[in-house]
Amino acid sequence: MRDMIKMLLVLTILATLSGWVLAAIRDNTKDRIENQVLEFVKGPAIRSILEEATNDPIVDRFQLKDGDMERTFFVGVMDGAPRAVTFETSGKGYGGDVGLMVGIDVTDNQIMGVGVTTHGETPGMGAKAKTDPSFVAQFRELPLKGPVKVTGDGGSINAISGATITSRAVCSATNDALQIYEKLKPQLTEKLKEFNK
Protein backbone atom coordinates (compact mmCIF):
# COMPACT_ATOMS: atom_id res chain seq x y z
CA MET A 1 0.00 0.00 0.00
CA ARG A 2 2.79 2.43 0.90
CA ASP A 3 4.48 1.56 -2.38
CA MET A 4 1.31 2.36 -4.21
CA ILE A 5 1.05 5.79 -2.58
CA LYS A 6 4.70 6.52 -3.25
CA MET A 7 4.33 5.55 -6.90
CA LEU A 8 1.32 7.79 -7.36
CA LEU A 9 2.96 10.62 -5.46
CA VAL A 10 6.16 10.53 -7.51
CA LEU A 11 4.28 10.34 -10.81
CA THR A 12 1.94 13.18 -9.86
CA ILE A 13 4.76 15.43 -8.70
CA LEU A 14 6.79 14.72 -11.84
CA ALA A 15 3.84 15.35 -14.13
CA THR A 16 2.91 18.58 -12.32
CA LEU A 17 6.47 19.88 -12.44
CA SER A 18 6.73 18.98 -16.11
CA GLY A 19 3.49 20.79 -16.94
CA TRP A 20 4.55 23.81 -14.91
CA VAL A 21 7.99 24.09 -16.51
CA LEU A 22 6.58 23.69 -20.01
CA ALA A 23 3.83 26.24 -19.42
CA ALA A 24 6.44 28.74 -18.24
CA ILE A 25 8.65 28.18 -21.28
CA ARG A 26 5.68 28.28 -23.56
CA ASP A 27 4.54 31.63 -22.17
CA ASN A 28 7.96 33.09 -22.75
CA THR A 29 8.39 31.82 -26.30
CA LYS A 30 4.81 32.22 -27.54
CA ASP A 31 5.18 35.62 -29.20
CA ARG A 32 8.53 34.78 -30.71
CA ILE A 33 7.16 31.55 -32.20
CA GLU A 34 4.18 33.38 -33.66
CA ASN A 35 6.51 35.91 -35.28
CA GLN A 36 8.81 33.18 -36.58
CA VAL A 37 5.91 31.30 -38.17
CA LEU A 38 4.74 34.48 -39.87
CA GLU A 39 8.27 35.40 -40.92
CA PHE A 40 9.20 32.06 -42.48
CA VAL A 41 5.89 30.65 -43.72
CA LYS A 42 4.02 33.73 -44.84
CA GLY A 43 6.89 36.23 -44.81
CA PRO A 44 8.49 35.43 -48.19
CA ALA A 45 5.14 35.70 -50.01
CA ILE A 46 4.17 38.94 -48.24
CA ARG A 47 7.53 40.54 -48.89
CA SER A 48 7.54 39.60 -52.56
CA ILE A 49 4.10 41.18 -53.00
CA LEU A 50 4.89 44.32 -51.00
CA GLU A 51 8.40 44.75 -52.39
CA GLU A 52 8.22 48.52 -52.35
CA ALA A 53 6.76 48.86 -48.87
CA THR A 54 8.70 51.10 -46.53
CA ASN A 55 7.33 49.50 -43.37
CA ASP A 56 7.57 45.95 -42.03
CA PRO A 57 4.23 44.40 -43.05
CA ILE A 58 4.65 41.54 -40.59
CA VAL A 59 4.81 43.96 -37.68
CA ASP A 60 2.01 46.18 -39.05
CA ARG A 61 -0.72 43.58 -38.94
CA PHE A 62 -4.24 43.56 -37.56
CA GLN A 63 -7.11 41.14 -37.29
CA LEU A 64 -10.70 41.43 -38.42
CA LYS A 65 -13.68 39.16 -37.93
CA ASP A 66 -15.00 37.57 -41.12
CA GLY A 67 -18.13 35.69 -40.08
CA ASP A 68 -16.85 33.54 -37.24
CA MET A 69 -13.29 33.46 -38.60
CA GLU A 70 -10.41 35.72 -37.58
CA ARG A 71 -8.39 36.91 -40.55
CA THR A 72 -5.01 38.55 -40.29
CA PHE A 73 -4.21 41.45 -42.60
CA PHE A 74 -0.74 42.75 -43.35
CA VAL A 75 -0.40 46.39 -44.31
CA GLY A 76 2.01 47.73 -46.89
CA VAL A 77 2.89 51.41 -46.46
CA MET A 78 4.24 53.17 -49.56
CA ASP A 79 5.09 56.86 -49.83
CA GLY A 80 3.94 57.39 -46.26
CA ALA A 81 0.40 56.13 -46.80
CA PRO A 82 -1.11 52.67 -46.44
CA ARG A 83 -1.29 51.48 -50.02
CA ALA A 84 -2.02 47.76 -49.86
CA VAL A 85 -3.31 44.96 -47.66
CA THR A 86 -2.38 41.31 -48.01
CA PHE A 87 -4.17 38.37 -46.47
CA GLU A 88 -4.29 34.62 -46.92
CA THR A 89 -6.91 32.42 -48.55
CA SER A 90 -6.75 28.90 -49.87
CA GLY A 91 -7.89 26.76 -52.79
CA LYS A 92 -8.17 23.01 -53.33
CA GLY A 93 -5.02 21.82 -55.08
CA TYR A 94 -3.77 18.48 -56.31
CA GLY A 95 -2.16 17.53 -53.01
CA GLY A 96 -4.38 19.31 -50.49
CA ASP A 97 -5.00 22.98 -49.83
CA VAL A 98 -2.87 25.58 -51.53
CA GLY A 99 -2.39 28.60 -49.27
CA LEU A 100 -2.24 31.88 -51.14
CA MET A 101 -1.27 35.34 -49.94
CA VAL A 102 -3.18 37.94 -51.94
CA GLY A 103 -2.17 41.59 -51.97
CA ILE A 104 -4.75 44.22 -52.87
CA ASP A 105 -3.80 47.71 -53.93
CA VAL A 106 -6.44 49.85 -52.22
CA THR A 107 -5.46 53.06 -54.02
CA ASP A 108 -5.55 51.83 -57.60
CA ASN A 109 -8.20 49.16 -56.90
CA GLN A 110 -6.30 46.30 -58.44
CA ILE A 111 -4.45 43.18 -57.40
CA MET A 112 -0.95 44.07 -56.31
CA GLY A 113 0.29 40.50 -56.47
CA VAL A 114 -0.16 36.99 -55.10
CA GLY A 115 2.23 34.46 -53.61
CA VAL A 116 1.88 30.82 -52.57
CA THR A 117 2.61 30.17 -48.88
CA THR A 118 1.92 26.50 -48.14
CA HIS A 119 1.15 23.65 -50.51
CA GLY A 120 1.48 19.90 -51.02
CA GLU A 121 1.84 19.95 -54.80
CA THR A 122 4.18 17.75 -56.84
CA PRO A 123 7.75 19.06 -57.01
CA GLY A 124 8.64 20.23 -60.51
CA MET A 125 4.95 20.40 -61.55
CA GLY A 126 2.38 22.04 -59.29
CA ALA A 127 5.08 23.23 -56.92
CA LYS A 128 6.14 25.65 -59.66
CA ALA A 129 3.26 27.84 -58.51
CA LYS A 130 5.55 28.73 -55.64
CA THR A 131 8.98 28.43 -57.22
CA ASP A 132 8.38 29.93 -60.66
CA PRO A 133 7.75 33.68 -60.30
CA SER A 134 6.44 34.04 -63.86
CA PHE A 135 3.21 32.22 -63.01
CA VAL A 136 2.13 34.43 -60.12
CA ALA A 137 3.39 37.51 -61.99
CA GLN A 138 0.35 37.13 -64.27
CA PHE A 139 -1.91 38.13 -61.41
CA ARG A 140 -0.29 41.55 -61.03
CA GLU A 141 -2.46 44.54 -61.74
CA LEU A 142 -5.57 42.50 -62.54
CA PRO A 143 -8.78 44.42 -61.81
CA LEU A 144 -10.72 43.62 -58.64
CA LYS A 145 -13.91 42.78 -60.56
CA GLY A 146 -12.86 39.18 -61.18
CA PRO A 147 -13.40 36.37 -61.54
CA VAL A 148 -9.84 35.30 -62.36
CA LYS A 149 -9.69 32.17 -64.55
CA VAL A 150 -7.15 30.09 -66.44
CA THR A 151 -7.22 30.30 -70.25
CA GLY A 152 -8.80 26.85 -70.50
CA ASP A 153 -11.80 28.10 -68.52
CA GLY A 154 -12.10 31.26 -70.59
CA GLY A 155 -9.84 33.48 -68.49
CA SER A 156 -6.50 35.16 -68.99
CA ILE A 157 -4.12 33.18 -66.81
CA ASN A 158 -1.79 30.73 -68.55
CA ALA A 159 -1.86 27.56 -66.43
CA ILE A 160 1.40 25.89 -65.40
CA SER A 161 1.91 23.10 -67.90
CA GLY A 162 0.94 19.77 -66.39
CA ALA A 163 -0.58 21.40 -63.35
CA THR A 164 -4.00 22.75 -64.30
CA ILE A 165 -5.51 21.77 -60.97
CA THR A 166 -2.88 23.72 -59.07
CA SER A 167 -3.35 26.71 -61.35
CA ARG A 168 -7.12 26.58 -60.83
CA ALA A 169 -6.58 26.38 -57.07
CA VAL A 170 -4.54 29.59 -57.20
CA CYS A 171 -7.28 31.28 -59.26
CA SER A 172 -10.07 30.19 -56.94
CA ALA A 173 -8.10 31.33 -53.90
CA THR A 174 -7.65 34.71 -55.59
CA ASN A 175 -11.39 34.95 -56.30
CA ASP A 176 -12.15 34.11 -52.67
CA ALA A 177 -9.82 36.88 -51.63
CA LEU A 178 -11.56 39.38 -53.93
CA GLN A 179 -14.93 38.49 -52.41
CA ILE A 180 -13.61 38.79 -48.88
CA TYR A 181 -12.14 42.17 -49.73
CA GLU A 182 -15.46 43.39 -51.15
CA LYS A 183 -17.25 42.22 -48.02
CA LEU A 184 -14.84 43.69 -45.49
CA LYS A 185 -14.01 46.84 -47.42
CA PRO A 186 -15.71 49.30 -44.99
CA GLN A 187 -13.95 47.92 -41.90
CA LEU A 188 -10.66 47.62 -43.78
CA THR A 189 -10.70 51.24 -44.93
CA GLU A 190 -11.42 52.30 -41.37
CA LYS A 191 -8.52 50.23 -40.01
CA LEU A 192 -6.10 51.35 -42.68
CA LYS A 193 -6.50 55.00 -41.69
CA GLU A 194 -4.61 54.19 -38.50
CA PHE A 195 -1.51 53.57 -40.56
CA ASN A 196 -1.47 57.06 -42.07
CA LYS A 197 1.69 58.70 -40.89
Binding site: D3, K6, M7, V10, L11, L14, A15, S18, V21, L22, I25, R26, T29, R32, I33, Q36, V37, E39, F40
Partner: protein
Protein backbone atom coordinates in the same frame (compact mmCIF):
# COMPACT_ATOMS: atom_id res chain seq x y z
CA UNK B 1 35.27 -3.42 -14.76
CA UNK B 2 35.20 0.14 -13.53
CA UNK B 3 35.81 2.78 -16.13
CA UNK B 4 37.70 5.97 -15.41
CA UNK B 5 35.80 9.21 -15.74
CA UNK B 6 37.52 10.03 -19.00
CA UNK B 7 36.57 6.66 -20.43
CA UNK B 8 32.95 7.30 -19.49
CA UNK B 9 33.04 10.21 -21.89
CA UNK B 10 35.17 8.76 -24.67
CA UNK B 11 33.34 5.44 -24.96
CA UNK B 12 30.51 7.30 -26.66
CA UNK B 13 32.86 8.57 -29.33
CA UNK B 14 34.12 5.21 -30.56
CA UNK B 15 33.57 2.05 -28.51
CA UNK B 16 29.84 2.47 -28.17
CA UNK B 17 29.17 5.13 -30.77
CA UNK B 18 25.55 5.13 -31.90
CA UNK B 19 24.21 4.21 -34.37
CA UNK B 20 27.19 2.16 -35.54
CA UNK B 21 28.24 0.24 -32.44
CA UNK B 22 24.89 0.48 -30.71
CA UNK B 23 22.44 -0.03 -33.54
CA UNK B 24 19.76 2.14 -31.97
CA UNK B 25 17.89 5.28 -32.93
CA UNK B 26 18.03 4.55 -36.63
CA UNK B 27 14.97 6.50 -37.69
CA UNK B 28 16.38 10.01 -37.36
CA UNK B 29 19.72 8.76 -38.64
CA UNK B 30 18.17 7.68 -41.91
CA UNK B 31 15.64 10.46 -42.22
CA UNK B 32 17.47 13.69 -41.49
CA UNK B 33 20.85 13.00 -43.06
CA UNK B 34 20.02 14.54 -46.41
CA UNK B 35 22.17 17.52 -45.56
CA UNK B 36 24.93 18.16 -43.04
CA UNK B 37 23.03 21.03 -41.50
CA UNK B 38 20.03 18.86 -40.66
CA UNK B 39 22.35 16.19 -39.30
CA UNK B 40 24.07 18.61 -36.93
CA UNK B 41 20.78 20.18 -35.85
CA UNK B 42 19.27 16.80 -35.03
CA UNK B 43 22.44 15.70 -33.25
CA UNK B 44 22.55 18.79 -31.06
CA UNK B 45 18.86 18.49 -30.18
CA UNK B 46 19.29 14.83 -29.25
CA UNK B 47 22.42 15.57 -27.22
CA UNK B 48 20.60 18.21 -25.22
CA UNK B 49 17.75 15.85 -24.38
CA UNK B 50 20.17 13.02 -23.64
CA UNK B 51 22.33 15.06 -21.25
CA UNK B 52 19.42 16.70 -19.42
CA UNK B 53 17.41 13.54 -19.00
CA UNK B 54 20.48 11.56 -17.93
CA UNK B 55 21.32 14.10 -15.23
CA UNK B 56 17.76 14.34 -13.95
CA UNK B 57 17.17 10.59 -13.97
CA UNK B 58 20.41 10.06 -12.10
CA UNK B 59 19.48 12.74 -9.54
CA UNK B 60 16.09 11.17 -8.95
CA UNK B 61 17.18 7.56 -9.17
CA UNK B 62 16.76 6.97 -5.42
CA UNK B 63 13.29 8.53 -5.33
CA UNK B 64 11.74 6.88 -8.37
CA UNK B 65 10.01 3.59 -7.48
CA UNK B 66 11.27 0.73 -9.61
CA UNK B 67 7.82 -0.29 -10.83
CA UNK B 68 6.98 3.01 -12.50
CA UNK B 69 10.51 3.97 -13.48
CA UNK B 70 9.86 3.73 -17.23
CA UNK B 71 6.82 6.00 -16.92
CA UNK B 72 8.90 8.49 -14.93
CA UNK B 73 11.73 8.38 -17.49
CA UNK B 74 9.23 8.99 -20.26
CA UNK B 75 7.78 12.03 -18.52
CA UNK B 76 11.25 13.46 -17.95
CA UNK B 77 12.37 12.83 -21.52
CA UNK B 78 9.13 14.12 -23.04
CA UNK B 79 9.45 17.32 -21.03
CA UNK B 80 12.92 18.03 -22.36
CA UNK B 81 11.87 17.16 -25.88
CA UNK B 82 9.07 19.70 -25.66
CA UNK B 83 11.56 22.26 -24.36
CA UNK B 84 13.72 21.64 -27.44
CA UNK B 85 10.65 21.84 -29.66
CA UNK B 86 9.58 25.21 -28.28
CA UNK B 87 13.06 26.72 -28.22
CA UNK B 88 13.79 25.55 -31.75
CA UNK B 89 10.52 27.02 -33.02
CA UNK B 90 11.34 30.32 -31.39
CA UNK B 91 14.96 30.62 -32.48
CA UNK B 92 15.63 28.31 -35.43
CA UNK B 93 12.32 27.99 -37.22
CA UNK B 94 13.66 27.00 -40.68
CA UNK B 95 15.58 24.11 -39.11
CA UNK B 96 12.46 23.09 -37.18
CA UNK B 97 10.52 22.97 -40.46
CA UNK B 98 13.14 20.75 -42.08
CA UNK B 99 13.43 18.31 -39.19
CA UNK B 100 9.64 18.13 -38.92
CA UNK B 101 8.20 15.37 -36.80
CA UNK B 102 11.63 13.99 -36.00
CA UNK B 103 12.03 16.54 -33.21
CA UNK B 104 9.02 15.30 -31.21
CA UNK B 105 10.10 11.77 -32.10
CA UNK B 106 13.30 12.16 -30.05
CA UNK B 107 10.99 11.07 -27.26
CA UNK B 108 10.85 7.55 -28.67
CA UNK B 109 14.49 7.47 -29.74
CA UNK B 110 15.72 4.26 -28.16
CA UNK B 111 19.13 5.78 -27.43
CA UNK B 112 17.69 8.29 -24.98
CA UNK B 113 15.46 5.89 -23.07
CA UNK B 114 18.17 3.24 -23.32
CA UNK B 115 20.76 5.45 -21.61
CA UNK B 116 18.33 6.41 -18.84
CA UNK B 117 17.50 2.79 -18.15
CA UNK B 118 20.93 1.23 -18.64
CA UNK B 119 23.19 3.94 -17.30
CA UNK B 120 21.72 6.94 -15.54
CA UNK B 121 19.43 4.96 -13.25
CA UNK B 122 22.47 3.13 -11.83
CA UNK B 123 25.20 5.78 -11.80
CA UNK B 124 26.00 9.10 -10.20
CA UNK B 125 25.17 12.48 -11.64
CA UNK B 126 28.59 13.45 -12.95
CA UNK B 127 29.16 10.13 -14.66
CA UNK B 128 25.68 10.25 -16.20
CA UNK B 129 26.40 13.73 -17.50
CA UNK B 130 29.60 12.55 -19.17
CA UNK B 131 27.90 9.45 -20.52
CA UNK B 132 25.11 11.54 -22.04
CA UNK B 133 27.55 14.06 -23.46
CA UNK B 134 29.81 11.37 -24.94
CA UNK B 135 27.01 9.39 -26.54
CA UNK B 136 25.35 12.59 -27.73
CA UNK B 137 28.50 13.95 -29.37
CA UNK B 138 29.22 10.55 -30.88
CA UNK B 139 25.70 10.50 -32.30
CA UNK B 140 26.09 14.01 -33.69
CA UNK B 141 29.40 13.13 -35.35
CA UNK B 142 27.95 9.96 -36.89
CA UNK B 143 24.97 11.88 -38.21
CA UNK B 144 27.19 14.59 -39.69
CA UNK B 145 29.55 12.06 -41.26
CA UNK B 146 26.72 10.12 -42.87
CA UNK B 147 25.03 13.34 -43.95
CA UNK B 148 28.29 14.64 -45.44
CA UNK B 149 28.75 11.49 -47.53
CA UNK B 150 25.15 11.56 -48.73
CA UNK B 151 25.02 15.25 -49.49
CA UNK B 152 28.40 15.30 -51.19
CA UNK B 153 27.65 12.37 -53.49
CA UNK B 154 23.98 13.20 -53.90
CA UNK B 155 24.27 16.87 -54.80
CA UNK B 156 27.98 17.67 -55.10
CA UNK B 157 27.56 20.41 -52.50
CA UNK B 158 28.03 20.77 -48.78
CA UNK B 159 25.63 23.15 -47.06
CA UNK B 160 26.96 24.91 -43.99
CA UNK B 161 24.99 27.74 -42.37
CA UNK B 162 22.59 27.82 -45.31
CA UNK B 163 25.40 28.48 -47.79
CA UNK B 164 25.99 25.67 -50.26
CA UNK B 165 29.66 25.13 -51.08
CA UNK B 166 30.30 23.44 -54.40
CA UNK B 167 32.90 20.83 -53.65
CA UNK B 168 33.01 18.89 -56.90
CA UNK B 169 32.53 21.89 -59.16
CA UNK B 170 29.70 22.64 -61.57
CA UNK B 171 30.47 19.79 -63.98
CA UNK B 172 29.62 17.14 -61.36
CA UNK B 173 26.63 14.99 -62.24
CA UNK B 174 24.75 14.53 -58.94
CA UNK B 175 24.28 10.91 -57.87
CA UNK B 176 20.82 11.77 -56.60
CA UNK B 177 20.14 8.20 -55.48
CA UNK B 178 22.11 9.07 -52.35
CA UNK B 179 19.71 11.75 -51.13
CA UNK B 180 16.63 9.63 -51.88
CA UNK B 181 15.24 7.17 -49.37
CA UNK B 182 17.04 4.02 -50.58
CA UNK B 183 20.38 5.83 -50.57
CA UNK B 184 20.03 6.34 -46.81
CA UNK B 185 19.87 2.61 -46.15
CA UNK B 186 22.68 1.75 -48.52
CA UNK B 187 24.97 4.53 -47.31
CA UNK B 188 24.46 3.57 -43.67
CA UNK B 189 25.01 -0.11 -44.47
CA UNK B 190 28.27 0.61 -46.29
CA UNK B 191 29.51 2.92 -43.55
CA UNK B 192 28.78 0.22 -40.99
CA UNK B 193 30.79 -2.18 -43.13
CA UNK B 194 33.66 0.32 -43.19
CA UNK B 195 33.52 0.67 -39.41
CA UNK B 196 33.68 -3.10 -39.06
CA UNK B 197 36.70 -3.25 -41.36
CA UNK B 198 38.58 -0.53 -39.48
CA UNK B 199 37.55 -1.61 -36.02
CA UNK B 200 38.34 -5.32 -36.38
CA UNK B 201 40.67 -6.51 -33.66
Amino acid sequence: MARSIVQEFTKGLWDEVPPFRLVLGLCPVLAVTKSVENGIGMGVATTFVLVCSNVLVSMLRKVIPAKVRIACFIIIIATFVTVVELVMQAFAYPLFLKLGIFIPLIVVNCIVLGRSEAFASKNGMFRSLLDGLGIGIGFTLSLSALAAVRELLGTGDLTIWEKPIQVFGPSYQPFSFMVEAPGAFVALGLMLCLMNLVGKK
